[in-house]
Assembly symmetry: D2
Homo-oligomer: 384 residues x 4
């Protein structure tokens, strides 16, 4: 597993957690992939995972894990027990791109460097395959232009010395060069440019995204079908997210927040079948740290126009909610690659706020689609 | 449609609402049966429904409707526009049994009287069929005994002058005698006695129940699958229901409340797959009237044992939530009878807290089962 | 009582409510001025109030009251019972200024016209005094300039044909010209310009403001002293206000919202004694109408740094909360004028989010100050 | 300070916290007694406190502190830093009474033993005075009888071999015998028997109680005055408390819970001036541990009868909220004894759900009374 943003809160929780489960220190709570439901999908075992990645920060992984323990995101006693695995993973983290470190490097060179890091990681550990998972900081929204339509045009533009791709798309490009499937757990652009889609298709590479569904949006996708199933008409759906740690700081910048709220907003209109009043906001509250509190207020109309309300408050630890999804996404994507799937994996919509390759946002339907697909993946090799 | 408890809040909202929709005064918000999803199920149209029923209270229906309008349960301007239909329905309400009115009547005679009322209603209005729907006050829990196992034994016991059946079961028995399907929207015993089940089966009568799923339990059955689907472990699920009007007064009696909380508790343990801490309480708050407020607090464990919480507050108008379900239940049951179904209609589990004929409590699965069954009902005559 | 914004939701609720209480149709719930606590303050009786005002809208008051009844803000049956008083008040509403109607009128002429309207109202009804209360739409924030420092300079500038004052301050100026005390229930500039303060002082006129404290801020001013009294350290105080009707539409404009959130923010920092994380937002949710829902989330630190939270959800009808305060403010201000008070009435801080003439925001202290002042007002004529 | 229930969650948090503050490891957050407001009251310094106590459990204090650290009630790193003080206090804990250990001991002997333990503690540590603070498990409600009216009659009854006093009152009696002031942080009977009151008065001993006000009741006593101050009429006040750790297990027994809910219920009726609908419940949720969650729902009526609601959810760590109050109560009571006060200290009502010696429940008024009293305590020796 190659984590882009390898020293972030989510990434650190992934490595700490996987190591603890491998050492049978904790049960796989939060890991749908480990439930009986998907036993037959042929997912790679947690025991076979090796971790590496790119980041632009330098804090060693064991120190990041200790910080998360201090904030109650991971149990303190676990961190000390998995220090070796954290150190081993840390040793496989290379300088990323798009950060302050290598400003003068043109993006073609950067892509080649990133791809070589990934290939070297694969070869040195004799891995069957590497899945690249983006858990780096949320990027501001990005408008695709003429250079992003065709692979050849893009190739030339990249060598032109000007920054043509946002970092997330540069990593997607590097993954393609290294022959690796790509999973985007962030709301950033990533693989979502025509030229990259075509390249991935040419190399028969599967990819999944975007933006992990962990808290408020998970709730909305479970509750919206309840209202429509009962023919109750939602008049207004308002949401406030209070977040401190990790991505919270990044989202304090309105542009980055916009890409998150856009991706958050995708589902609701589709699931309800009509627009509703109400905004969804993300407020940066440093003191809350990784403990995201989301309050949703739904005003709905029932029989004979009677007005009623539902309020839900979600107090979740964001990285603890994200990490198990990242582990499952990487394993499902690896299995898909092994089974010969390529292009956007719509069946993984269950994990995303803004799912690629599907228009389905309703959690129950997404779960059924994932079950059916996993069942097909379970059959001997052949296109799923 | 023959409503047992015809002068109650739910019943009055049913008649008021159906009349208003028939007069195209309001859209069918709250009526799943009127959504495109079930257009092909061949349900009887709202325009063809005729209302009658039994009650032990005497307040005329138009006055009950005015009271509900005063409480904001139904819009005041509608009540005056549908006064004739309310009066017509009121004229078809007969004295019930099990109330103070006819204490000395033995239950065999009572059953015969109730059945004759229903048959006379069917004949006078030349109705193809009558569905008996129980929306009378919640009864205390009832323990079945030897007289309730076999139809013949039950018949003799009924003529013994001693009260052998709770009122809800007497109405179920009368429905059978009158050749009518029976729907129990209450948590009372109703058809749920072996002797009655056998009788219904003999007369090829379908029946559905029990206890309409309108608020807190509806939410739980939408949210529990979200937790299990994400392998999140629920440690405690606590619930407080504050209720004033209608059934609220009845539920102030701990015994009646017990039958409600038992039926409420059925689903959660099954959906989560394990017991959890936490109680579900019903508190009588007269001042709240029909506006039920339910607060649920869920403590759950995520990745690496991190503890998180979700709270949801539901502020619903109980009768407005119940009435559209009662109308759809009656029409689905009528269609099932027409299509030759008999015995407990498990596919209607979608509507009940404590569903007969199925062990499925998860709302998404219940909805899919209802869709498939409705699709089969849509095909030309033949056992669904 | 002369209401600026006389056809708004708050104003209409004021007139409807006062008329209903005068006719002994309803008890004075919400009226602190009618409790035993202030019986000795010598406030003018509700029976002696006469209503008039300015507005730039034209919808007749009886129609506005019917609209509020439709929205459940005032009881429908009351509106019909007080139709004459509504019509009488409507007949005393004159064209305001600063609206679309009289764009070409220079502000000196406008002020003269407004003052004449108020004086004519006083003379025709032989009133001892008229209190002008601003309940017009919230204005965007306004920066005072050189013309606003000195009465004479202001006078000349007003005749200059250029709009020198925001509407709220023009009304304050007109009130001074008409010799009337001024109450600003809005967060707009109103009397809060040095030149107007001097003029009011010269004419020995009392004035009060700003921005009625009805919902979230009322709660905060009751709860903040609880935390400080227990030496509990608030780390973050976040607030989300969802509002539809009346002022909601105006506050959808970020500039107007800014004046509201600034006035809302005044108190907290002062009461807690230090800055905290967390924002206070106002979101326009048309479907909610006049029913404002405010959710506050407080993260605080207790003994040995343990972190705890408190959440409070307020679901209030804004106009119903505002109207009784407007009635009491007008009567207290009238009594103060009668007792010879002049300048900002700090003792009325109890009623305001952003109180003039005091730095005290804590509700308990504000209530004690009001009690002491009311007691002094109760003594025979003499400066309070 | 002599803690009855010295090995409980509250007591352990008291000793851990006091030790940490003495070592300047943490600031005195939560300690009103350490704020500028009470600097002049002459309270004994935290540095001068010595801890001992009685308990019927045997788990060593350092181990109890480690358990609380594991539950996040006290910071783990602090516990190790104050191990010596914990061990020192542990060495001063003696076998209590009323537990399983010494069933055959008659209560007169037990009282003598308990008193001797306290006196020996005082003498050995050369302490000016010892304040006995009851933080032992909540007792079921207890009905006073003839033996409890007069000290002499009580004395004889105690030697009669039959248990005449609940444990809490036996400790109060022992405190009197040892010449010590007594503080009851629990809702148990304690000093609240006529005979004990007389004895305390004879020995010029001050005492305070009952039942520490830490969460839901603290909130109610801050919010009720807000409603009455605005003449808003509360129609229903419902409360649900979910509690696991410490006292939670004890309160799972309905009889013990009843003494807690009775004491909780005392204030509301008095503060609002009238009865309201709504119950207050305590539900035992083991999984929640020491983290008490209280949800209150208030239905209130405003202007012209419009109905509105307020909901507040308090998520507090009970022992962390209780411990600082216990430390301040002991120091205020010590100072009162030093200043010659005796009998019930009504001025400490600020700290109690069911305050002795006062009928005032409103938090703001209680705080003012405490301030005035503390100011008087500050003046040189003389009856306060
Ligand atoms: N936690 C959740 O519930 C959740 C849900 C959905 C999406 N996400 C997304 O996951 C991502 C990570 O969240 P987090 O809380 O771990 O954030 P974080 O800030 O803790 O970690 C982000 C990491 O990315 C690194 N980074 C930034 N720019 C980089 C670059 N150009 N190349 C390589 N690394 C770079 C940072 O140095 C940091 O180590 C965010 O984009 C967030 O939106 C998180
Ligand atoms: N409203 C909801 O959301 C909801 C949800 C699930 C179940 N239910 C059930 O629906 C039923 C009705 O609720 P409601 O609010 O209308 O109650 P209600 O008290 O307003 O009405 C009950 C009616 O039943 C009548 N009744 C009582 N005993 C009778 C008897 N022996 N024979 C005939 N009639 C009798 C009463 O006179 C009354 O008119 C209750 O059992 C309730 O538990 C309601
Ligand atoms: N309702 C509350 O809880 C509350 C609390 C604090 C402050 N306020 C303030 O009270 C004011 C009124 O609130 P509302 O809900 O009644 O708003 P509203 O929009 O219903 O009424 C405002 C009225 O002011 C009139 N108006 C606008 N410009 C005017 C002008 N230049 N001259 C004269 N009239 C003019 C409008 O035509 C309208 O009739 C707002 O400023 C609001 O911020 C309300
Ligand atoms: N934590 C709060 O917010 C709060 C608030 C108000 C009141 N209180 C009261 O404080 C008390 C302690 O609460 P806790 O959470 O520490 O409970 P706990 O159960 O953790 O501690 C109670 C201690 O009392 C001991 N005990 C029991 N019977 C005894 C006896 N006869 N003699 C001596 N010791 C005995 C127990 O062994 C235990 O160590 C309870 O009565 C509770 O109602 C707590
Ligand atoms: Na999310
Ligand atoms: Na408490």
């Amino acid at each position: 597993m190659w984590l882009v943003g390898a020293r972030g809160s989510v990434a650190t929780t992934v490595v700490t957690g996987a190591s603890a489960m491998r050492a049978r220190l904790v049960p796989p709570v939060g890991m749908a992939g480990e439930t009986a439901e998907f036993a037959g999908a042929g997912l790679p075992s947690l025991d076979d995972l090796v971790f590496g990645g790119h980041d632009v920060a330098s804090t060693p992984l064991p120190k990041r894990a200790a910080e998360l323990a201090q904030a109650g995101v991971v149990p303190a006693h676990l961190v000390s027990l998995v220090e070796d695995e954290l150190a081993a993973a840390d040793a496989e983290i290379r300088d990323g791109a798009g950060g302050p470190l290598r400003e003068h490097e043109d993006q073609a060179t950067a892509a080649r460097r990133l791809a070589d890091d990934i290939s070297s990681f694969r070869d040195r550990h004799e891995l069957r395959r590497v899945v690249v998972v983006n858990v780096s900081s949320t990027e501001p929204r990005f408008a695709a232009g003429p250079e992003h339509q065709d692979p050849a045009v893009l190739g030339r533009a990249l060598r032109g010395g000007r920054d043509v791709l946002p970092a997330s798309s540069l990593y997607a490009y590097a993954a393609i060069l290294a022959g690796c499937p790509f999973v985007d757990f962030t709301p950033s652009t990533g693989m979502r440019l025509p030229a990259l889609g075509l390249l991935a298709q040419e190399r028969a590479l599967p990819y999944a995204g975007s933006d992990g569904k962990t808290g408020e949006t998970l709730l909305r996708s479970a509750l919206a079908p309840m209202f429509t199933g009962r023919a109750l008409r939602v008049l207004a759906w308002s949401g406030t997210n209070l977040l401190g740690g990790g991505d919270g700081a990044t989202l304090a910048d309105p542009l980055a927040a916009a890409s998150k709220t856009t991706s958050k907003g995708q589902g609701l209109r589709g699931m309800l079948g009509h627009r509703t009043d109400g905004d969804t906001r993300i407020d940066y509250v440093p003191a809350l740290g990784d403990w995201k509190t989301a309050w949703d207020h739904v005003l709905f109309e029932g029989f004979l126009g009677v007005r009623m309300t539902m309020q839900v408050t979600w107090q979740g630890c964001d990285s603890a909610l994200a990490a198990p999804l990242v582990l499952d996404l990487a394993r499902f994507t690896a299995r898909a690659h092994e089974a010969g799937c390529s292009g956007p994996l719509g069946a993984l919509g269950y994990y995303f706020k803004d799912p690629l390759g599907t228009t389905e946002h309703r959690l129950p339907e997404q779960y059924r689609i994932l079950q059916d697909w996993a069942c097909a993946l379970g059959r001997p090799a052949g296109a799923a």
